[in-house]
């Protein structure tokens, strides 16, 4: 074990310490520690290029050569496992080590171009820095440097300047060991050795951007950032990724009020040092196509309005509807914003008709969240996945739906964790986790969970086993109930993994009918009293349980709701009719930062801040708070909470509207120790005939938060329909298939997948050429008609 390697468990006291002496200073280190890590612990920095604490040692660059007592040749500190009493002498105390390092540094600079003044890495370059600290002042090399055509695309997003490469193999090892996408390889040999890909097989990885960040020279650059800025001109702010519930720690860099790049930041407990390409590259939306001014609908058309006018119209409209308002809080909201929405709904509008689940959901899910998730402390964390004997995934495709969970599960699987997935087939993501598919048709997971093979059940009964249910389980009747039963009978921990960054925070903030902040049941007297006191209102002023989910939708459709307050919602996540239903309402207020299907029908549109313009907190799937600061401190746009505060003022009420005030109020409330609503199980769905649709949102698709980076979009996976050869044969389907639902049809190329069960077809939920809700009018687990497709 290396100290930084086992990020989650490194706090545990190692059982056996051995003593090593580095430059004359003794230190106790755990057995198995590498010399370079032992030196780091003493603050002794040995130069390195190929060494990376999260990658297997390769000892290729030889920059870290040190002298070890009793060993004739200098040894690479990055691969040297220390032994008790070992005497290590670094460049600070050994001429052999210093000369060896100088020699290597001189060699590394031979063929490296001195284009630092135009290189993206210049200013933050390990080669530059270490050449300064341990290199010779002047090179003796007078021959011609090796040249390569530059740059080449290893993917649409990643560019490679081969002449800058020092062959450290960090990128290739990352691709192979961490991401499991080994398309990046070293080719050729000797001085012609170069990183490359096979012909026509680009570096097709959701995690490709990490290679840029760990490249110790400027060989790998992104099309987005290349030549845009110098590191020393950038202002860096620690942030949290808003794209999913993985909770990555990021660093956002900007220059002259323009975000130039985002990097994965180091958080051993969560994302280690990695992030996905969506989190890294999907940021142009933060600044492009923004709503700048409030708008109100006049004679059927939206027109720009002043803030006072728009707030006045919105406040009057909402006041008129009062308790007949539905408040829809999307998964993009921060916890503080979600808190503001629910407080506004309950304390000011007097309604409990609130739901953060702007996506397919169910009352079974509501009961599950209320009884098992809302306001609970962290039960399963990333490090638990690493140490788990087995992890069972239910309606959850980590690589697409929570990529850092995927990376951690892949890491776990490499050290023995068995991964099982209850799904329609073994995806590539599952293969990369060495996982086993337990076949279940979408929508029929419950009965499969109830009848798991005994060996799987036995593995789940081992201490530390984890069951992870994805948010899609809500669309499968009885699946969550079966998962609860399975967890109870095996003792495995149960984790719920929503897709959107804001969902878990919104749940804990109380943005769900019947659930006050912290998971307090709205029907619980003590809970009501606590909340009423905190909000300075009478307990009787708190509403009675309202509607959510399907009931709320039905009420809207039936005309029992007259207005809606909508914020942070991605309309593409909604089954089609949910957005359509809003059209029937008398009055809709939309808090948005971009035009959307909701702003199109809204009566008042109030622009709000994006994550870079506000501070806030997301709770990741673990339930871990991921607070982030404001990147642009002089941003002119207010957060949702701020705008809701203005609305409250217009309604002669007050509610906290700054992040600080809201956090303070949440802090005062504290966790809920009272009772929770019991879980109400739902019976499994019975199988109906027909082809079932399996679908989820791919990591890179038509999501509005991915707009603005064509290079990122070009790395999205091609839109295909997957089915088993048997299904294709039975329905006489060749190269293309036509999927047909009540809302229409799409024709897609077919990818036959031996691992898929018969009677299921998979299609991406919101990708180019296939938007399931809009194009087919069906969703996950519904039946579709498939026919041979002809041409597209």
């Amino acid at each position: 074990m290396t100290i930084t390697n086992d990020s989650g468990t490194d706090l545990a006291v190692p059982s056996e310490l051995i003593t090593v002496i580095v430059d004359g200073v003794a230190i106790g280190v755990p057995k198995g520690t590498l010399a370079i890590r032992a030196a780091e612990m003493l603050g002794i920095e040995i130069p390195r290029f190929c060494d990376h604490p999260l990658l297997d040692p390769v000892a290729a660059c030889r920059a870290c050569l040190v002298e070890i007592e009793g060993v004739p040749k200098p040894q690479p500190a990055c691969a040297q496992v220390v032994s008790d009493g070992m005497q290590i002498r670094t460049q600070f105390s050994s001429d052999v080590a210093r000369e060896a390092q100088e020699g290597v540094m001189e060699f590394l600079l031979l063929n490296h171009p001195l284009d630092c003044p135009v290189c993206d890495k210049g200013g933050e370059c390990p080669l530059q820095n270490q050449a300064m600290s341990v290199g010779r002042p002047e090179s003796r090399f007078t021959l011609d440097k090796r040249e390569f055509e530059k740059p080449i695309n290893v993917s649409a997003q990643i560019l490679l300047d081969r002449e800058r490469c020092v062959s450290c193999a960090r990128c290739t090892r990352f691709a192979d060991q961490i991401a499991g996408d080994p398309m990046l390889e070293l080719l050729e040999r000797g001085a012609q050795q170069q990183v490359g890909t096979a012909d026509d097989e680009p570096f097709d990885s959701y995690f490709s951007g990490n290679t840029i960040q760990i490249c110790p020279v400027g060989a790998l650059t992104s099309a987005t950032y290349r030549f845009r800025a110098r590191p020393f001109d950038l202002v860096s702010v620690p942030t949290t990724c808003e794209h999913c519930a993985s909770g990555c720690s990021l660093r956002t860099d900007y220059r002259r009020s323009t975000i130039t790049r985002r990097l994965a930041w180091d958080d051993p407990q969560v994302n280690e040092e990695w992030n996905c390409d969506k989190g890294r590259f999907a940021f142009p939306y933060l600044q492009e196509g923004r709503l700048e001014w409030p708008m109100i609908r006049e004679n059927g058309e939206l027109r720009t309005a002043s803030w006072p006018e728009a707030i006045d119209v919105a406040a009057r409209g909402l006041k008129a509807a009062g308790a007949d308002t539905a408040v829809l809080v999307g998964g993009r909201s921060t916890m503080e914003d979600a808190y503001a929405y629910q407080r506004f709904a309950r304390a000011i509008l007097g309604t409990d008709n609130i739901d953060f689940r702007a996506r397919a959901n169910s009352s079974e899910e509501h009961s599950f969240l209320a009884s098992h998730v809302a306001g609970t402390a962290i039960r399963v964390e990333y490090s638990d996945l690493e140490s788990a004997p087995a992890v069972l995934l239910v309606s959850f495709e980590p690589e697409d739906e929570s990529p850092i969970v995927f990376l951690r599960l892949r890491k776990a699987s490499r050290s023995g964790t068995r991964v099982f997935s209850v799904g329609s087939g073994a995806t590539h993501g599952l293969e990369k986790m060495a996982g086993t598919c337990i076949p279940a048709a979408p929508g029929l997971e419950a009965s499969v969970l109830d009848e798991l093979p005994q060996d799987v059940r036995d593995t789940l009964a081992e201490p530390g086993a984890v069951i992870m249910v994805g948010e899609r389980a809500a669309a499968s009747a009885g699946a969550l109930s079966a998962a609860v039963r399975l967890a109870e009978s095996t003792g495995a921990a149960l984790a719920w993994v929503p897709r959107r960054a804001g969902e878990r925070g919104a749940l804990d903030a109380g943005a769900l009918a019947g659930l006050l902040p912290g998971g307090r049941p709205l029907t619980d007297t003590a809970a009501r009293a606590e909340i009423a006191q905190a909000w300075g209102i009478a307990e009787s002023d708190l509403p009675q349980p309202g509607l959510s989910g399907v009931q709320l939708h039905d009420a809207v459709a039936a005309g029992r709701i007259s207005a809606a307050l909508v914020g942070g919602v991605e309309p593409a996540d909604y089954p089609l009719d949910a957005v359509e239903a809003l059209r029937e309402l008398d009055f809709v207020v939309s808090l948005e930062n971009h035009h959307s299907a909701v702003t199109e029908l809204a009566d008042v549109v109030l622009p709000v801040a994006v994550v870079s313009e506000k501070s806030g907190t997301f709770l990741d799937w673990e339930g871990r708070p991921r607070p982030f600061g404001q990147v642009f401190r002089d941003a002119m746009m207010g957060s949702d909470a701020y705008v809701l505060g203005m609305l409250a003022s217009a309604l002669d009420a007050h509610q906290p509207s700054s992040v600080g005030d809201i956090r303070a109020e949440l802090g005062r409330l504290g966790p809920w120790h009272g009772s929770r609503a019991p879980f109400t199980a739902t019976a499994p769905a019975s199988a109906e005939p027909g082809i079932r649709l399996d679908t989820w949102r791919l990591l890179l698709d038509l999501g509005v938060m991915q707009e603005g980076d064509p290079h990122l979009a070009a790395t999205a996976r091609p839109t295909v329909a997957r089915m088993s050869p048997g299904t294709a044969q039975q329905h006489s389907i060749g190269a293309h298939v036509r999927l047909e639902g009540p809302g229409g049809f799409v024709t897609l190329p077919v990818e036959l997948d031996e691992s898929m069960m018969d009677g299921v077809v998979w299609a991406p939920m919101n990708s180019q050429g296939c938007r399931v809700y809009r194009d087919l009018g069906v969703g996950y687990g519904h039946t579709v008609r498939i026919t041979g497709g002809g041409t597209i």
Partner: protein, 436 residues
């Protein structure tokens, strides 16, 4: 002549049918195997240890000790891999063995596999020698048909499959761990050690990797015994060696003699230097070992005596150069070889060979600069002992040795090209004595 030739592996090379099973059996082949299969495997390992046989691939590691490193009863499959990737400039003894006496190799493979409890053996042959590959494949096929390879070999209960694998033309694949990577289907680059192959080699299982000649020795040791084997050679370098003499000698070729024979004696067997020519410098075993001069001709060719002289026995394939050869040019050619064959994995070898070769080419063309001689010396010391594997060390060998004995030629190469100093035509085989 004091030291007689002792043909063992090469004894019957004049038999045209030696490469066939019948021919090999006619001269006593596979008797060692029959004996071996009646022995306890551990006794064979002990016998090889006692024989003192040292690896013939160049490093001279004791073979029996290597076999003894394989953990027994570990429940993992064991593998024997024969390194037949002979690619070093000057080395030409494994390929002749495979061409002329492939069954000695195959018999040795079976015995060695039996000893280390391997049920799979691989013979990794350099890809550029299809004739040798065909000969070995033919021998393996015949041995399989005769029940010498397969299941329950000669009723012993021992099963063995032998795979002949062709390399794809990379010197680095002669490095044992790079060979394993290549054999597994990866790009041939050396692996980090530890773990050593004896613990985690091919497919992460205990693996013994031996040179062709080493393995070809085994049947004779098992058949004829330790005492017989130790009757040849010296205490520290027992046995005989297939010496392949090349260069400006009258009869270049294979001479099997006890270790300890001198280069002068080998030169005599090879007919002496060509007419009108004297030894200028020579290398005992492949370009990776430092060169020697005529004053070293009477040193015994043993692992220990060569080490004392500051070189190595290496593959035991001496190249002899006469006065027509430019040392600068010879060293440049060798470095060009290492530059071309450097796998690229580690910085010192990848960049160092690139740089040294470039500077040497300047010298070759008479454009060397005096201070660059010092630069080259320091570059070699920046590679030697700092590279990932022995390829880098080997590349750092020729220049310092050449400087030790022939510094003047490098000084001259600062103004006069190698071809002007030494007429290249004169060094050719076809050049008459007059040209010299």
């Amino acid at each position: 002549m004091s030291t007689p030739l002792t043909p063992v592996i090469t004894e019957f090379w004049d038999r045209p049918d030696l490469y066939t099973l019948d021919g090999y059996r006619a001269v006593g082949g596979y008797q060692g195997l029959t004996k071996a299969l009646q022995m306890d495997p551990d006794d064979i390992i002990a016998q090889v240890k006692e024989s003192g046989l040292r690896g013939r691939g160049g490093a001279g590691f004791p073979t029996g000790m290597k076999w003894g490193f394989v953990p027994q009863g570990d429940g993992k499959p064991h593998y024997l891999v024969v390194n037949a990737d002979e690619s070093e400039p000057g080395a030409c003894k494994d390929i002749p063995i495979m061409m002329a006496n492939p069954h000695a190799l195959v018999e040795g493979v079976i015995i060695a596999s039996y000893a280390i409890r391997a049920n799979h053996a691989f013979i990794y042959i350099r890809g550029e020698v299809p004739n040798a590959i065909r000969k070995v494949e033919f021998a393996v096929k015949q041995a399989r048909e005769a029940g010498l390879i397969g299941t329950n070999i000669q009723g012993s209960g021992f099963d063995l499959d032998v795979v002949v694998h062709s390399g794809a033309g990379a010197y680095i694949c002669g490095e044992e761990t790079a060979l394993l990577d290549s054999l597994e289907g990866y790009r041939g680059q050396p692996r980090l050690k530890p773990p050593f192959p004896a613990v985690a080699g091919l497919y992460a299982s205990p693996t013994v990797i031996n040179n062709v000649e080493t393995i070809a020795n085994i049947p004779y040791i098992v058949d004829r015994g330790v005492e017989w084997f130790r009757g040849f050679g010296t205490e520290k370098s027992p046995g005989f060696k297939v010496f392949a003499v090349s260069g400006h000698v009258k009869r270049p070729g294979i001479y099997e003699a006890p270790l300890g024979i001198t280069m002068r004696e080998l030169l005599d067997y090879a007919g002496g230097m060509r007419d009108g020519s004297d030894v200028k410098f020579w290398i005992p075993g492949g370009s990776s070992v430092p060169m020697l001069t005529p004053e070293h001709l009477d040193l015994p060719l043993t692992y220990e005596s060569m080490a004392e002289a500051g070189t190595m026995l290496g593959t035991g394939t001496p190249m002899v150069f006469d006065q027509t050869v430019s040392v600068v040019k010879a060293v440049t050619r060798w470095l060009e070889f290492y530059k071309h064959e450097s796998c690229g994995k580690c910085t010192p070898c990848r960049e160092g060979t690139y740089w040294i070769t470039g500077v040497l080419e300047k010298f070759e063309h008479g454009h060397g600069e005096e201070q660059e001689m010092e630069t080259l010396t320091s570059l070699c010391s920046q590679i030697s002992g700092r590279s990932f594997c022995a390829l880098g060390d080997a590349a750092a060998t020729p220049y310092p040795a050449a400087m030790k004995y022939f510094r003047d030629e490098f000084v001259a190469a600062t103004h006069t090209s190698a071809d002007e100093q030494f007429d290249p035509i004169a060094s050719y085989v076809f050049a008459g004595a007059a040209a010299r």
